[in-house]
Amino acid sequence: MIEIVLRILIYGAVLSGIWALTASGFSLIFGIARILNFAHGTFFVLSAYLSILLIKNLGFNIFISYAVSVILVGLVGVVIYKIMMAPIREHEVMVIIVTLAFALLVGEVLLLIFGEHGISVPSFARGFVEIAGVPITWKRISVFIAAIVVIILLEYFINRTRTGKMISAASQNLEAAMIVGMDVERLFVITMFISAALAAFGGLLYAQVFAASPIFAFKSLIFAFAIVILGGLGSVRGSIIASFIVGYILTITINTLGARWGEFMVLVTIIGILIVRPTGLFGVEE
């Protein structure tokens, strides 16, 4: 019994950390530009495929290839924003449709090139450690630590640096931010880069422990939705807290009922939240 509880506790923490990165990225760009980016899950799996290419075909070192693929995916995010989102930002229906079409396009191309089987990327660390009799791999521990470090850096960036403060100011009131002379378009581009890079890093961590596949782009997007709805649309801190709640709900469901109930529980959670507390834990009334 204690074994199961401990396993759920640790596995849940690892999963939650990964989702916290992904969902806060989704939340950031929505918060400032009111863009619902349906291609966010694509950034998540794209980085895993990129880093595998870099390691296997170009012989890159693991850490360098991770850094390069996170930056590359961030740039892809900026390019996608410039080409596909910025020209039609006023037309919110179209933004959703275009980003969804882009996500499916990339998914289909990845499927044609790599096949439907999932891929894993090399992990930061090997071996395992026993905690109260339960063997836990260093892989999971290092992933959890990496996720927490990035979350702390993100919090620091948003609350302490000048650019971060500008982003959160523009999220609160875009017009006022323009009036006081902020270059809002530049902030959008920076936020898009960070948002895509966070998803990319989340995907790299996920692919170390589990496996990333083209189909998983859509699933990861849906988990991000659930987290963002629970945390409140546009609130980064809400997303981080909510990802731990959703992460544990998922881990408990998968460990007790089986993996196929995962999405079902997520939907039940979303519907439950929308009935009880429509604006989420930290959301603001629109």
Binding site: F30, L36, F38, I83, M84, P87, I88, H91, E92, V93, M94, I96, I97, V98, L100, A101, F102, L104, L105, E108, V109, L112, I113, F218, K219, L221, I222, F225, A226, V228, I229, L233, R260, W261, E263, F264, V266, L267, I270, I271, L274, I275, P278, T279, E286
Partner: protein, 337 residues
């Protein structure tokens, strides 16, 4: 009165009706079958346009209502699927006639739409889009979990004797009848005061609310109407193809619906009819022939369709119908609005 005779619209409609009715006389059987399916697909495109184009609420789970309609009619026709499951009691229910069962497919889909609409549409903003995006995944998961009833990945057959008609020509005319009824019904709903309220909600929620329109009520109503026709078409699909299975209702179909409506023009009714016709035939006819390219390049018919969608959405977000209307108005000398 003379205005009426000179209206090119009436002329075009009459020509199209004659063409559609005469088509099975000179087209090969396989085409007749495919065009009949296209008619059912058009119902999906125009019903999606009701909630998205006319009411401005992004519904990404339209295929779920297609699936609900499909499985409702399939299970009504083959209640023996319930035998030996926890719903054993339902195994003995008598089978309704095929057309009643198709109608029930629409009604059950509309009811599910009502429940989901009441929960998600009272919230402003994006919650509806997010929740409807999750629905297809959950729906397909449902089909796998209770595969004893739903037949899992392969689905099940409803039997030849429960087809819409014994041959393709019969099916074609029934599908054509269904699409014409759907278009006429939606035309009158959208031209009525209800339709104008849908558009008021889409264009400015706050303004609509301040002139006394109950925005939640009209959003839910629009969603229920849209889901009803999706369920109806889904149920008709089952009796057209004799089988039901999850592959009919997955994400590629959703994208096809979006593509048809966006290319035709959101919120125009005629646009999605045209778009649905072009896209469904294109996807199932000549795009099949280019699949040879995927051996060399990572391109297949879906990649091409997604690329078209992205390009159209960015460059011509109002769809082709707006250009056609512009052209027709120019020819007939009307003021261009």
């Amino acid at each position: 009165m003379s205005e009426f005779y000179r209206d090119p619209k009436i002329f075009v409609i009459v020509v199209l009706l004659i063409l559609a009715l005469a088509a099975p006389l000179f087209l090969p059987d396989a085409f007749v079958f495919l065009i009949g399916l296209t008619y059912l697909f058009i119902i999906l495109a125009i019903s999606w346009d009701v909630i998205v184009g006319y009411t401005g609420q992004v519904n990404l789970g339209h295929t779920v209502f297609v699936g609900i309609g499909a499985y409702t009619t399939a299970l009504l026709q083959v209640p023996s699927r319930f035998e030996g499951t926890f719903l054993n009691a339902l195994a003995g229910i008598p089978q309704p006639p095929v057309f009643i069962s198709i109608l029930l497919g629409g009604i059950v889909a509309a009811f599910v739409g009502f429940v989901i609409g009441v929960i998600t549409l009272r919230l402003k903003g994006y919650y509806f889009a997010l929740v409807t995006a999750v629905l297809p995944l959950v729906f397909i998961q449902f089909l796998y979990v209770w595969s004893d009833i739903f037949g899992g990945e392969e689905g099940f057959s409803v039997g030849l004797e429960r087809a819409l008609a014994p041959d393709s020509t019969g099916k074609y005319y029934i599908a054509f009848g269904l699409v014409v009824i759907s278009i006429i019904t939606l035309y009158f709903i959208l031209r009525s005061s209800i339709g104008y309220k849908f558009r008021a909600v889409r264009d400015d929620e706050i303004l609509a609310e301040s002139v006394g329109i109950d925005i939640v009520k009209y959003k839910v109503l629009s969603f229920v109407i849209s889901s009803f026709f999706a369920g109806l078409a889904g149920a008709a699909f089952v009796h057209y193809r004799i089988t039901v299975g999850p592959s009919l209702f997955d994400i590629p179909l959703m994208l096809l619906i979006i593509l048809a409506a966006v290319i035709g023009g959101l919120g125009t009714l005629y646009g999605p009819i045209l778009g649905g016709f072009i896209i469904y035939l294109m996807k199932n006819w000549w795009l099949k022939s280019i699949s040879g390219i995927s051996a060399i390049l990572p391109i297949n018919d879906e990649v091409i369709l997604y690329t078209i969608l992205i390009i159209v959405a960015i460059l011509a977000p109002h769809g082709i119908w707006s250009y056609i209307r512009l052209g027709v108005n120019k020819i007939s000398g009307k003021e261009v609005r």
